[in-house]
Symmetry: C2
Subunit: 524 residues, 2 copies
């Protein structure tokens, strides 16, 4: 398979009719301009999270609302529908469904239909419900009382169901699918469940075995307090080694790490430096964002502003961040390479630790009620819980008022964790308050894709741990670039997975990865 050799120019199939060519060119020029405008909003958002003076908040909100309005006008412009219909009438598109032209037309059609399918009144109601929802969630979390948030959540769920009804879903599916389509195109609750259930069935006992063991990996490394300027130098060194191009991007500080930016040549990652827990916090989240950043930098400049220059889905995006964070950054090979660099940077604070102890410190498994503090293994149980509950909320089989009880029961069953109050239970995530339903599974889909892609890379590239021990990360980055990044939205996530790994998505690679790594660390 030589996917990278497929033609990457903008019109790679001959459009037979002059009218189609003209319509296609008008279409692309129009969406590129909308995207260019949207990219100015991306800089405004990045600046708001990193550098903006606090008093500028109100004005920034006005700027962002204006850009959002102008972009919305452009992506719902009826001319888009006309240009698309003209292109779709051309038989060439059918014969070359993965060509640049067919990909752009297919994905723009999908976006246009979704953007125009919601009545203005519903868009406004959704927007209001999110503003109110967020405020209500904040108040409820501060009071540690779900009841405060329940009325807003009821409205949010009702409106999301209404939204799903406008979008519609495939026969045999369910309303939740229509919402997930916004984050993971082509996914369905049933298909996700088919991968999640076997994962959960083996993950719960694996975690029980690990935490039941009398042997524990050394936690010393996590506890070392490292100076922040050293953390920065070390992190930047690692990101350069991973192949992040600092002439085409930046790393800055923010409260919550994220990856944004305006273009493949302007990728903005953020991180944070704390006092302790360096491998998980500063380093782990930097490597995570770097995975996102490498995906963005791997998109092709000539396609930016069109679907061919956009990431496939949140799940595939997350697969890139998780792979660099977990398969690479928490590997024994990585820590063999990184130890001398740690010692050179932090001196006597870490020079009593061997590579094995650093590797152990980066791979601690622990039960926690909080998703964002969870380790590589337990994290997925948190996500699967949310998937099950939001699916039931949207289906109407779980009443909003019953959410805390359902949440706490599931936490006890899957993770053996007793939730002490709603703030560390069902109020811990901001997502639902922002109207993000159908979003959570993409986190675990990312872990699954990461493990399966990594296995495929290893099959093709040979012993990657040997590479990592020598600080050679470029072969993996290039493999990901050629197999995944440069294709933009040419393939759907599931299609890409089969093309790249020669099998459909499965929970086996992730489970095998976790067992291979964690059982020895826990003396099993």
């Amino acid at each position: 398979m030589m996917m990278a050799n497929e033609p990457a120019n903008t019109t790679d199939i001959p459009l037979t009719r002059a009218a189609t060519r003209e319509a296609y060119e008008a279409l692309i020029a129009h969406v590129r301009e909308a995207s260019l405008l949207g990219s100015t909003g991306s800089l405004l958002s990045w600046d708001q999270e990193t550098l903006m003076p606090p008093a500028a908040t109100a004005h920034r909100a006005q700027q962002l609302a204006l850009i959002a309005k102008l972009v919305h006008q452009r992506v719902t412009d009826p001319r888009l529908g006309d240009w698309l219909a003209c292109c779709e009438a051309d038989s060439e598109l059918v014969t070359a469904p993965h060509s640049v032209v067919a990909t752009n037309v297919r994905e723009l059609r999908r976006g246009y239909d979704r953007a125009t399918r919601l009545p203005v009144k519903l868009v406004e109601a959704l927007s209001r419900s999110v503003s109110l929802g967020r405020e209500s969630w904040k108040a409820a979390r501060a009071a540690r009382q779900f009841a405060t948030f329940a009325p807003a959540l009821r409205e949010l769920v009702d409106l999301q169901r209404e939204k799903a009804a406008c979008y519609g879903w495939a026969a045999g599916g369910e309303a939740w699918d229509a919402l997930a389509e916004g984050y993971e195109p082509g996914s369905t609750a049933a298909a996700i469940e088919a991968v999640f259930e076997p994962l959960r069935a083996r993950l719960v006992p694996l975690i029980e075995r690990l935490l039941g063991s009398t042997t524990r990996p050394s936690a010393q490394f996590k506890q070392r307090v490292l100076p922040q300027d050293g953390q920065r130098r070390f992190v930047e060194r690692v990101l350069r080694a991973f192949g992040f191009d600092f002439t085409r991007g930046r790393l800055d500080l923010s409260t919550h790490p994220f990856c944004g930016g305006t273009h493949c040549n302007d990728v903005r990652m953020t991180t944070r430096f704390g006092d302790a827990d360096f491998p998980d916090k500063a380093l782990g989240s930097s490597m995570h964002e770097c995975g996102h950043g490498l995906y963005e930098q791997g998109l092709l400049a000539e396609h930016i502003g069109t679907p061919m220059g956009s990431a496939i889905s949140l799940g595939i995006h997350e697969s890139q961040s998780r792979m660099w964070e977990n398969q690479v950054g928490r590997s024994a090979g990585f820590w063999t390479w990184a130890r001398p660099l740690m010692v050179a940077t932090f001196g006597s604070t870490v020079d009593d630790l061997q590579a094995a102890e650093m590797y152990a410190g980066a791979n601690q498994v622990a039960r926690s009620p909080i998703r964002v503090e969870a380790d590589e293994a337990t994290y997925n149980l948190h996500v699967m819980l949310r998937f099950a509950l939001e699916r039931a909320l949207i289906a109407g089989t779980l009443a909003v008022d019953d959410l805390p009880q359902a949440w706490n029961e599931r936490m006890r069953r899957d993770l053996d964790v007793t939730v002490t109050d709603d703030a560390e239970g069902c109020l811990q995530d901001i997502h639902w308050s922002m109207g993000l339903f159908g979003y959570f599974p993409t986190y675990t889909l990312g872990n699954l894709y990461a493990a399966q892609f990594f296995d495929a890379a290893q099959t093709e590239l040979g012993d990657l741990q040997a590479d990592f021990r020598e600080g050679r990360f470029m072969p993996l980055r290039e493999w990901l670039r050629e197999r995944i990044h440069v294709h933009g939205r040419r393939y759907r996530a599931a299609e890409l997975c089969t093309l790249v790994t020669h099998r459909p998505l499965s929970s086996d690679p992730l489970l095998a990865h976790l067992e291979r790594k964690l059982l020895p660390l826990y003396g099993l």
Copy 2:
């Protein structure tokens, strides 16, 4: 005079007719949106100069061009003309010419007429001439040969003359006036000459006297090499003392210091830290930009996006930057306050210097062929030279090919400087290559206004040097805010000057300031 007590709400006069009220509201909503959009471009520009990854240049140019296009569409929208005509028909505007409503209508009319008076073909030709001009200027400067730039400059001058003809100018005036109107509304070459000539007549012999003296102020302070992190801390401390509000703005680094931002609550200044020459370079330019920043922070939030929330002119803007840089930052009172802070910051590197020596180091006069390296006194001769030459170029009385000779003769006559080649002569500034004709005089107008405003402040506030010795800078900032900042474009520059200082602009205050300060330092 209680200017600050004039009403500052958006509609401070009763508009008699409902139609006028509606037109005025539509007008203001429209220009506010255009300004909001423009402010997103301001962030893009600021980011480009401070943080943007180098590879993002091409995409940033596209973003900026799109924002410029969308703003231009809005400020030339024919509905603006209709709304303005409707407002202008209301008799209330005539009876209250300095009301918020009348100010906004008058200044928006001015802007609309200028924006719509140029034919599209000329706008395009001007834009092309600037792109080519800049490239040609860069090549000429690198080759140190004016001849390389001459053809591009000829075209630039011709197009500027054409532009001036489209704008038109008042009877008795000249084409140059129409260009200056874009930077210093209401100014004319004749009026500027009437202030510049007496200044030059006394400044040339003053500088001769100073530089002929056998006594020189100590230059030791300028030569000290100070660590850059200390420079940053010291500069931020000074800017805070001057009253710059860091919750409503930032200070960052860039190659060329500037003051930008998006709103009065989001003011972005930049500076640079070098190895030596701290009082002139890092500190001087930071205090300079702080003066601009204080003006921007002093505009009223409720008027942002309208003329009432915009700075009057480049000359008035420059008066604020020059005052904080020169009248405050190069004063004896300032250095009495600042010396202990210098010693606390830099320790033994500066603790042998007394306040008088620091004051002396910040007030060195020297002949230089280069404007941007010139001191407070000689700087104005550089500006007046450019004013005279560009005026002659636009009038057609100086041929482009004769520019180097005219430049070098004038440098010899006014500054006794022999220019060795065109790179340190008429190729040193970027302005003309960017089509900026009519711009240079605003630098010296700024110095003149600064001196005259400062005298008026001193008359009203008492001994400002006594304030500065104690680190009290707030009375001056508040005075400037009340007298100048909050009024936006309520008055034209010349009007404001008379209102605030009770006399028209004169060269006397600046000359008196320079003599008072420099003669003693040179033992005269």
